[in-house]
């Protein structure tokens, strides 16, 4: 059992969802993960999405897999929005202090990254605090300015997130259509079976005769 952060539930990753021999997924390139991402978490997300469908067809499974990938892209892009702010903050700090140019923007960027997530060592914290004093800024002031500075790129990331939402909507509609189609076929089969069981053989012949 694996805990899925996204949905806040425990999911059985070994749960059989479909007949493997009929799966479309081996014939499609699989979504790739970044080096720091967990495959088990990705799979558990997929399984929890699949568990919401009642006996999904191979095509539905393939579409749900694409939907799961979209959710991952939304997650990645959301992290990117914060990273863009950090990048802009480092850029503004290095611009404000002329002596930082020699030491390089990337050094300050790494120090700031650690400083913001609370994992900075003494040297890195000193570096950032010194830069803030030199620029005559507080951390919140810097964040506000960075937001303004990175607005163009943040808008781009927002567009990317919006695109993933639209893609999810398309996939959802496609899955609903497959589900509706299979339900309709099942219902017609049941109705036909019910009719056949109710009608005596003689009646069926009469019907045939009438139609012809």
């Amino acid at each position: 059992m694996l805990y899925n952060d996204h949905f806040g539930i425990y999911v059985d990753v070994a749960m059989p969802v479909e007949d493997k021999s009929k799966s479309l997924l081996p014939f499609l390139s699989s979504p790739k993960l970044l080096p720091n991402e967990s495959d088990a978490e990705f799979q558990s997300g997929l399984q929890s999405l699949l568990s919401e469908l009642d006996n999904p067809s191979p095509l539905a499974v393939a579409l749900v897999s694409q939907l799961n990938e979209c959710l991952w892209w939304i997650r990645r892009h959301t992290v990117d929005k914060e990273l863009l702010l950090h990048e802009a903050m480092a850029r503004l700090l290095s611009k404000a202090g002329s002596n930082w140019m020699g030491s390089g923007n990337s050094k300050l960027s790494v120090a700031l990254e650690h400083y913001l997530d609370g994992s900075a060592d003494k040297y890195q914290a000193g570096l950032v605090e010194e830069a803030l004093v030199e620029a005559n800024l507080t951390l919140s002031d810097l964040r506000v300015r960075a937001f303004k500075d990175a607005a163009r790129h943040i808008k781009m990331v927002d567009d990317l997130i919006h695109r993933q939402h639209q893609t999810i909507r398309h996939l959802q509609r496609s899955i609903d259509s497959i589900d509706y189609k299979s339900r309709l076929i099942k219902r017609m089969d049941l109705e036909l079976a019910a009719l056949e069981s109710k009608q005596p053989v003689k009646g069926a012949l009469t019907l045939d005769a009438k139609s012809s």
Partner: protein
């Protein structure tokens, strides 16, 4: 027929007037488009083994022959776009840290020294410094790695939009 011909000619004339990048830098940038992701090249899915298998498997779900072909093509095309999306995201143009961080004004004596064997004029040094400053401005405008990967990936939005619309249409109409 004559009307079609006239319309085609008008379209071609208008296209010559309006489409495509005009500036040198715009032309240079767009000339690299297909090299980056290859999504402008028409794919040949029909001859692949995966396509035929997908068509057979989708046909088992009760779709018509045409719908199966459309769905299989749509799926393969969508995956192609998403693979390019991932590749673009994970390999942005690298940041030239030297060019970004170098102090151009402080480098003027170095430029002077570099140009001195050819008997340079002070104007040559100024021109070289302004050239470097221009390059640095361009490099800084591109931002860091996250900004670069965001703007590179942003260019693929239209391919993803077309890819998913095609797939979704094929499934719903099938």
């Amino acid at each position: 027929m004559t009307q079609n011909l006239r319309r085609n000619l008008a379209n071609q004339c208008n296209a010559l007037k309006s489409t495509g990048p005009k500036s040198v830098s715009g032309k240079r940038a767009s000339s690299q488009n297909s090299r980056k992701h290859g999504l402008n090249v028409a794919p040949d899915f029909e001859s692949s083994r995966e396509y035929r298998t997908l068509v057979d498997l989708i046909a088992e779900e009760g779709f018509s022959g045409f719908a199966c072909a459309d769905i299989a093509t749509g799926l393969l095309n969508y995956r192609r776009v998403m693979d390019a999306y991932y590749d673009t995201y994970t390999s942005p143009e690298p940041v030239d840290e030297f060019l970004r961080d170098v102090n151009v004004k402080a480098s003027i004596p170095i430029f002077r020294e570099l140009l001195s064997p050819s008997g340079s004029e002070p104007q040559d040094v100024t021109e070289m410094a302004s050239f470097f400053a221009d390059m640095q401005r361009q490099e800084r405008r591109k931002g860091g790695p996250v900004s670069r990967r965001s703007s590179d990936t942003h260019k693929l939005i239209r391919y993803q939009r077309n890819g998913i619309a095609r797939l979704s249409r094929a499934v719903r109409q099938g």
